[in-house]
Amino acid sequence: MTGRVVIVGSGIGGVRTAQALRSLGYAGQLVLVGEETEPPYDRPPLSKDFLVGRRDADAVSLLSHQEAAEAGISLRLGVPAERIVPKEKSLVLGNGEVLPYDVCVVATGASARPSAWNKLDGVHVLRSMADGQALRERLRQWREVAVIGGGFIGSEVAATARSLGLGVTVIDPLPLPMQRSLGATVAELVADLHHRNGVTTRFGTGVESVDNRGMRLDLRLSDGATLTTDAVVLGIGAVPNDGWLTGSGLPVSNGLLCDEFCRVQGRDDIFGVGDVTRWYSPRYDGHVRVEHWTNAVEQARCVAHNIVFPDQLTAYEAIEYVWTDQYDWKIQVAGQPAHPRVESEAVVGDFAGPRPRGAVLYGDTTGALCGAVTVNWPRAITLCRQALSVRAPYQEALRAVTGPRR
């Protein structure tokens, strides 16, 4: 096709969609709209290497101005999309400019979940490069920090802060860190890992209030305990950036509703990619929204294909895959280890020694592998991802992981 594709969102989903369109031979105009002024950058390092100071802004770039120019991608940065008018096939930007499109891709991502404490001095979230820069500077000034939320961001920030020598307390109403993603077995090991590294955890405990008392913050917890600390990092999840679509007539319900081809329901000229997208998954026979980096990349590839080849639409089917790096553990997760229909579980390898390397595999009630978590064992997670993609039996996947080296 020719004409003009306008992509809204300059994160990984938007950038990869633009690049894939060019790889597939799309020769029309390509405009990438981004709210932030920085050239597109990658988010995963913000809570790890960037935060600790091992990588700088240049090293997390996704698409420089020069690379964009070479690929014929026109960058419109520092201006948000204000609304979309599907009837007129046009996008209205925050500065009033109207951008007509032939195809629009919505890749506006997600934001840190709002809370009553966001506005307090000393309370931080971590989502954008600006958040990361602020946190990186402050981590060198504080002596101790309380992390509210034991999910991926909270746990990674806790590990990073400990590595910088801060006193760290992690508070979460759930009994274990990242349990919904990792399953209980590895979540328990990760809790121990944090304890061994000197993190104080208050799992099973909520936060009732956070008050700024001059230079310090006072936290009151649900069990009546109080805690005084230099700063708070909130890691309480994210919400899709779909508010700007309100009033457009597009179907929005905790994300932009799309069909299995990632086309907005009822339209063939608007697509969704990444965290903001809730698409119909044939695999789960329902609408799902996934906030993983790899999902955005794979969905971008599928959407670019469906834009360039509308007569050969491909349904988007992907196996969930996410990783986290904490201390000397590289944790990789595929599928759904905490799926409600988990029936079998196998622990392979060694999680306790000086060089931990292990895997936990999960089988569902149909006898298929439904999820896997590995620690420092990329070969095993690769085998499990391959097994998941062909719905291989759990026992077969287990044999592959425990089989002889190759």
Partner: protein
Amino acid sequence: MRICEGFANCVSAAPDLFDIDDDDRVIVLQADLDATERARVEEAIRSCPVAALTIADT
């Protein structure tokens, strides 16, 4: 310096071209690629979270 961390997204994108060995390192199964494969290879390369892969044009 070893860049590959064993994310295996390249294997997921193009299992006939890439694999991860028992030392958790990416291996290229097929080095000489047909020009018609280029789009697929570029996509596999862009799926790497640490940009460990590039195409060497010869």
